[in-house]
Structure formats: C-alpha cells, structure tokens
Amino acid sequence: MAPKIIKRIGWLFGVWVFLGLAANSLAVEWQVDLTKPRVAKFISRAPLEEFEGITEDIDGYLYWEDDSLFKNNEFYFEVNLNTLDTGIGLRNRHMRERYLETDKWPVASYQGKIVDVAKRDSAGRMVYEVQTQGTFSVHGVERDVEVSGTLEMLEAGVMRIKAAFQIELPDYNIKIPQVMFFKLNKVIKIRVMFHLKRVDGE
C-alpha cells in the first residue's frame, strides 16, 4: 500500500514540475539593453523658457508568459533622476535638491501592462502600436496613467520602444519654481526611447 501512495505522489510531483517547466520555457523576458542608445527627456515649455532634462539612465523589463505575444504581460521601467541633466549644473542641482528631492526618491518609474496592441508593417519591420495602463511614480507619489507607444522589432531579439506622455507636477507634489522668471511649466512632457534585448534562454 505505502509504495503505491509514494508512486502516486511522485507522479503528481512530476506532472507539477513538468507543467511548471513547460510554462516557464514559454515565458519571454526583455530587458533594457544598456549597450544601445536610450534616452528619457523631461520637457518643460514655459513662457520665455524651454528646457529639457535628459538622461540615458533607463532600466527595466518587459515580460509575457508564452509565445502568444504579450499574453499576461507586465513591465517595469525606471529612470535615474540623479543623472537628469538640463544643461546647467545649477539647474540640475536645483531640480534634484529642491523639486525632485532625489535623495529621498531617486527614480521615476512606470509599472503596468500592455492592454491593447495593433500590429503594422513599417518598411519591412514589424511595429506594434501599444496602449498601456499602469502606475507612474515620482517624488514618492503614485498615479495611474495610460501611455501609448510603439514597439519596433529591429532584428531577432532586439526591439526599440518609443513612448510619450505628460504629467502635471502638482499631481506629484512637486513645487513649481517661482523665482524671477516663470521658467517651468506645470505640465511636463516625458519622452523615452530605448532598446530591449530578449534574455530568456540565456
């Protein structure tokens, strides 16, 4: 009797492991390729003053579960605000110390899911127009946002992401500088471009 139960338990365990491995073998993960061009721009257009904060310090991943593209997907991308550069050291320092308070909240992140995909062919490359929903976090405040963008398959295992959206600084408890000249718009446009490389199977 006892060997029979052990045999059945072993069989069950085998099925469980097989199911797990089979499903995992179909999982697809892409990570930001730190060797390829990447940029995040925070753009402010205010009267008399327009500037951009730029950084290439972007990292994160895109994951889905099987080869049905984007099934049960999730992503997380973050930007290092400590390296955000507006072109002037003082302004960088102001932005970090006074407004973004990067000693407390060093990154801005966007975590969410792709909720809609439209595929099109662009000059022989497959391009996916995607709609995403997720949580954007900066300055210690999280807000639900929807962002649209494109995923462009450049070659096997390499894709490029472009996306743009905007936030309002008061929504994130970020002060708007009011010194001498009004130089920062409360609406900040954010544009990102980076490459992902497929890492599953490595």
Binding site: W16, L21, A27, V179
Partner: protein, 292 residues
Amino acid sequence: MKIWQLAVICIISVLVVLSPAQERKIRWKKKIFKGPQAVEIFHSTILVNLPTTEVLQKKNLEFIVAHRFIPSLGEGIDALFGADGPAYMQLSLSYAPVTNLMVALERSNRENHYQLWVKYKFWEKGSGEIPMAAALKAGAGVAAEDPALSGRSRFQARNWQYFAIVPVNLKLMPNLMAGVVPGFLYNSYIYSASPQTSITLGATVEYFVTSSMGIYAEVNSVVRGYRSDGATAFAVGFETETGGHFFKIFLTNSTRINSAQYLAGVDRRIEAFSDLHLGFTITRLLRFGEKW
C-alpha cells in the same frame, strides 16, 4: 471512476493553478543607480575673468555678453558710476562638441581682439570629503586693429598672443568653492620690441548664499615675466542664475576683458575705492540636441 482517480484529477487541477509557472521568474534585477557623475563646483564656466573647471554640456551653445565700463565709480551718479559708458565689451560664443570639452570664439572691442580657445576638463574627483576638478584652457588671440591706427597689418605674427590656464577647483563646503588658477601668456605686450611672456597665479572663491545666488572674488597676479603694471587684478561681485541665464555684476580694477589681455596685468594702479570699475557679464545657454 475510483475515488483516488478523482482525487488525483482534483489535486492536479489545484497544482496546475499553483504550478511554478504562475510564479513569475523575472530575471531583471534592480540596480543601484549611482549619483551624479559630474563634479559641479563653480556653477558657471567663468567667474569674472578667470575660468572655472565647469564646461558646457555636450552639444550646448553658450552666448556671453560682457562689459567693463571705462569710467570709474568716481564719476558719480551723473554718470551712473561709470555705467553710462563708454565700455569695453566682448561677445563670446562657445560650444561643447564632446563631453568635457568646449571651444569658444570671442571678440572684444578693446584692440579689436579676436580669441579662439578650448577648455578641457581633464580630471575630477567627486568622492571623498572635498570634490575637486581640473581643466586646461588654451587658446590664441589676435589684436586685429585697424592698420591705420596700429601702423601694421592686422594679422602679422606680433599681433598674436597665446595662453594656457589650468584652473583647479575645490568644493570646500557645500556652499563654498575655491580655485587656484595658474596661467601662462606668450607675447604679453604686442608692441614690445620682442615677444614677452608672463607666468601668472590666480585664485577664485565663491560663497553661495542660496543655491542660485553667490558672492565671489578673484585675484590674479603676474608672478614672473611681463606685466603691464605692478598691481594685481582683482574683482568682487554678485551673481544670480535663472534657468539658462547667469547674471554677474562686479567691481574690478581691470577693464581687460579676455584671457590674453587679462593675464598681462592691469592698466593702472588704483588709489581709492572710487577708482574701481563696474562690470557685468550675462550668459545665455542654448541647447541643440539630437532629434529622435
């Protein structure tokens, strides 16, 4: 169906739900981002006449307008303490083609002087108690005066001056910056019988009252070689920064406005506070980035 077979089917169903596949094994690991890479000490690329170790961001363009009023403070309120002019002025356009390097073209109405220079920040140390950096500014200038006035052609060899300056800047405290600025000038006085050289030593200091306003002082002295007068050049002033602008206003005993002129010394000794001159510098930074 036997009971144990039914149990197996139920258990498998539960296990499928709980199988390892449902625990997402994301390999991406959060990295510890480092802090700012660049060492920022003085906020602008020049203090008054002496350079700092700051360089423009890559692909940035900086436009500078500088004035040194020729009448001194002693002219009084009727001449707005010299600000009614006339003035020596300089226009400067600089650009950073690559990281840590900038080039500039300047023109001063003093001797119709054109100057081209490069500045390269070759060393910085951000860690430790005292962040510090060093740069090399080197260039050439030509006093292209009207031949009818100077009696010689605009671009003859003796009109050319060459200089090299090595600012070393330190962040002594969060709000207190200091610098040592040795320099070298060739052909210090273009009308001398033979080319002269000058070796100089300058110092800069700035205290930031707030993160956007500072008070500063600089001195520069010829320690060896030709100098136009025995006095040491100095300036004290105030600066404020808004967005892409710097505005500096200062008092100085020198009306010389670019490196080749300034390193050779000052025009005359001052005897009293009223002999000082007003000056100002306004900078505007423009950015040209890649489109994508």
